[in-house]
């Protein structure tokens, strides 16, 4: 009797404990799922807010004008000297012959972007034969018009509080009815450098700057980082000096990036006399920043190569350098590449150190080499976010989308490389 009683109480206890353990496991899982959901919702919020305010930047408003390239206007040999702004103004006046007063005309001329004149100039320079003909040309609309057409300005507020006045609204409506006002794909955004007129601003200059800067960073930090990792892991004696170096490398990986900027300013610009605001200096500074990351990743992947490989190679008579270059390095390389790509992605998103070396600057010309002044993508975002013109808001978000796109590509590549070449021991 007693015996059975005992067993049942033990099994009861056991069952209770089991239930509790299952519950604990479920609770833990739920907490994990909740954490992921919260993280996802933040991410979703970020993406929706950026995309919803930025997607309109991929379209730009254009106005069609009929331009008379009258031969009389091109007396000078130099085609750039002709009065192109005047041609734009004449065309607009012809479209709205009722506009007479000087003030109204000024408002009318503000409908098109100042770049319209340069569009005409480029047309004439590309093909001087159009002189003497009449052409209908799509030119960029002013940024305020663009904002109005895209609905970022409210039509219903009092006239004084709007940057587009009632007359201009009437003209815009007329243009739209005639089919002379259209939103088109914004190629300028992908081909132009920075500009203070939002409708003419593009990210190509900054993207090129980022490319050159990262090229320098990669060319320097990958070989140096890999060589340092190999030496420290495979050759260096195990003594106090290597310990000190290891601690310092780990420390440097956690140093705020602005410190590297200050260092770059002091050494590369003030001491070596390299030109300010150029990708070469930017690349050097970012090299300093990414080196620790690459060395640490490199050492970790060298460590993960099993000692049996080395021993086998040494055992059949390979020298140490042959062991490393023929066997260990090829096996560790995928891991090193992953670390490098992650380091590069970090460097791509960095602004703070570049502030110190003058890469936070207004640069219109698209850089053509590593010694031309340039900015990088995150700096361009920073500069646009700080501009008073409202139309830069959507440009900022669109530039963020481009930067995020590049980052996803790079991190995707890192994941792909890892999956493809990963060797499980």
């Amino acid at each position: 009797m007693q015996n059975t009683n005992q067993t049942s109480s033990i099994s009861l206890k056991f069952n209770d404990g089991l239930k509790r353990r299952y519950k604990a496991e479920k609770r833990f899982q739920r907490m994990g799922i909740a954490a992921i959901l919260i993280a996802l919702s933040f991410l979703g919020f970020l993406f929706t807010s950026i995309i919803s305010s930025g997607y309109t930047a991929f379209q730009q408003t254009f106005i069609q004008i009929d331009v008379d390239f009258d031969r009389k206007l091109f007396i000078d040999e130099n085609l750039s000297a002709a009065n192109y702004p005047g041609m734009v103004k004449t065309s607009l006046s012809k479209m709205f012959p009722d506009v007479k007063s000087r003030n109204d005309k000024k408002q009318l001329y503000k409908l098109t972007s100042p770049s319209a004149a340069y569009t005409l100039m480029d047309m004439v320079k590309d093909n001087p034969k159009i002189i003497g003909t009449s052409q209908s040309v799509w030119v960029l609309a002013d940024d305020d018009v663009d904002m109005m057409v895209k609905g970022h300005y409210d039509r219903n507020v009092p006239e004084d509080d709007r940057r587009i006045d009632d007359n201009q609204l009437v003209w815009l409506d007329q243009l739209e009815l005639q089919g002379k006002l259209k939103k088109k794909f914004n190629t300028t955004f992908f081909t132009a450098g920075d500009s203070r007129e939002p409708e003419q601003a593009g990210i190509w200059g900054a993207a090129r700057g980022s490319f050159y800067t990262l090229l320098i960073t990669l060319a320097l930090s990958f070989p140096i980082g890999v060589a340092a990792a190999i030496y420290l892991e495979e050759f260096a004696p195990n003594n106090i000096w290597t310990d000190i170096i290891e601690i310092n490398i780990n420390n440097l990986a956690a140093v705020p990036s602005i410190i590297f900027g200050l260092l770059g300013l002091a050494i590369f610009i003030n001491f070596w006399g390299m030109p300010r605001s150029t990708p070469i200096v930017g690349g050097l500074v970012l090299t300093l920043m990414t080196l620790p990351t690459i060395i640490i990743a490199g050492r970790a992947s060298l460590k993960s190569v099993p000692p049996s490989i080395r021993e086998a190679a040494l055992g059949i008579g390979a020298s140490k350098i042959q062991t490393v270059t023929h066997h260990v390095l090829p096996l560790a390389l995928p891991g090193m590449l992953t670390g490098t790509i992650i380091g590069m992605a970090q460097a791509l998103g960095e602004t703070a150190p570049l502030l110190m070396i003058g890469m936070v600057a207004f640069i219109v010309d698209v850089p053509g080499s590593i010694t031309d002044p340039s900015t990088v993508l995150p700096v361009q975002i920073f500069l646009w976010a700080d501009s008073p013109e409202r139309a830069f808001t959507e440009k900022t978000s669109a530039a963020i989308m481009m930067l995020l796109g590049f980052l996803i590509l790079m991190n995707g590549a890192a994941v792909y490389l890892r999956k493809k070449f990963e060797i499980k021991w």
Partner: protein
């Protein structure tokens, strides 16, 4: 194979570094300085670059003080040619320049900028005096019960400062101390507010500066960073808050925010140009004379900036929110630019 590749890559990069032109001639103008002048100087630079065939000048926004520091570093292509400033150069900075060999500096005033206090359009505009601003924002204010004594700022709402103001919490978003806008605001608004109290006015210079320039730190004044767009967004979200920034941001966002009246003058283009609106400051740029004939395009850039189509009453800088100088002043400075009249000449 791989080691060779690595060696080659590092050799290549080493070669690239050592061949980097340390003192190569610069074929573009390098400009540094104030973030307030930045939006105007960049427009001129872009116009100049597009119409002249020269390279577009490079403009860094370093703040007025940082700009002078770089500018006064010396003469030579590695130093900037022009620095923008939202205040006049200090005598200490002129001395520093001279020490480094920068002796001939041309001062060019380009126009004015108004500093506005603005709030959301959802509420009524504030009608402030400079005294109200001082009382609402200074760290130490005169004790209302015990005139002649200073106490820590006790005011929590605007109507405690001045019975005519609304009963809303004092919540002002403004620039940090590193900003030129903050310097100018403190000097133009708070200082004259402090001067309206005789006993503060009669303090010795150091003590006066401490009282007039120290902004309260108990949460009523929030340092919102250098990004004025952010302040505008916060004002929209919080109708009770008031923001401090440059006129061009009010001009661009006039559909959602409104400027407060100061001494019963609204911050409008006309009032600032006439000098009626009290909180406005001149903007400058400074040119290194020794660079004018060395760096290509300098003369052209200076001519573009001082042309009527740029800084005139109908010029494109006015469209961007800069307040032009009166005609006589424009003529004077345009002549200075032409003759490169240096400071102290």
């Amino acid at each position: 194979m791989k080691t060779k590749g690595l060696l080659f890559a590092s050799a290549l990069t080493m070669a690239m570094i050592s061949s980097a032109p340390a003192m190569a001639a610069r074929d573009y103008i390098s400009i540094v300085g104030s973030s307030t002048v930045y939006p105007f100087a960049t427009v001129v630079a872009e116009q100049f670059g597009k119409s002249s065939g020269f390279k577009t000048p490079k403009i860094e926004s370093t703040g007025s003080g940082g700009g002078f520091k770089l500018f006064c570093g010396g003469v030579g292509v590695e130093y900037p040619d022009i620095t923008n400033a939202s205040r006049a150069i200090k005598s200490s900075e002129i001395e520093k320049c001279a020490e480094n060999g920068v002796k001939d500096i041309v001062e060019v005033k380009i126009g004015y900028d108004g500093i506005v206090l603005a709030n959301s359009k959802d509420t009524a505009p504030l009608k402030l005096t400079r005294q109200d601003i001082f009382l609402a924002l200074a760290k130490d204010v005169p004790d209302p019960k015990n005139p002649g004594q200073l106490i820590a700022n006790p005011y929590k709402t605007w109507n405690e400062v001045n019975a005519e103001l609304p009963n809303t919490k004092i919540e002002v978003l403004g620039p940090p101390p590193t900003s030129g806008t903050r310097d100018a605001f403190v000097e133009l608004a708070m200082e004259s507010g402090a001067e309206s109290f005789d006993f503060i006015k009669n303090m010795d210079k150091k003590e006066f500066a401490r009282v007039a320039h120290t902004v309260r730190e108990d949460g009523a004044f929030v340092e919102a960073g250098e990004n004025d767009n952010l302040i505008v967004q916060k004002l929209q979200a919080n109708p009770a808050a008031v923001g401090i920034f440059g006129f061009s941001f009010l001009d661009q966002n006039s559909d959602v925010i409104q400027g407060s009246f100061i001494e019963s003058e609204a911050p409008t283009f006309e009032n600032i140009a006439d000098g009626k609106y009290p909180v406005s400051r001149p903007l400058f740029f400074y040119v290194k004379k020794a660079h004018v004939d060395v760096i290509p395009g300098m003369t052209g850039y200076l001519a573009e900036f001082s042309s009527e189509k740029a800084w005139g009453e109908e010029g494109y800088l006015a469209d961007k929110g800069m307040i032009p100088m009166p005609e006589a002043e424009r003529k004077e400075y345009a002549a200075n630019v032409k003759n490169l009249k240096t400071i102290g000449m």
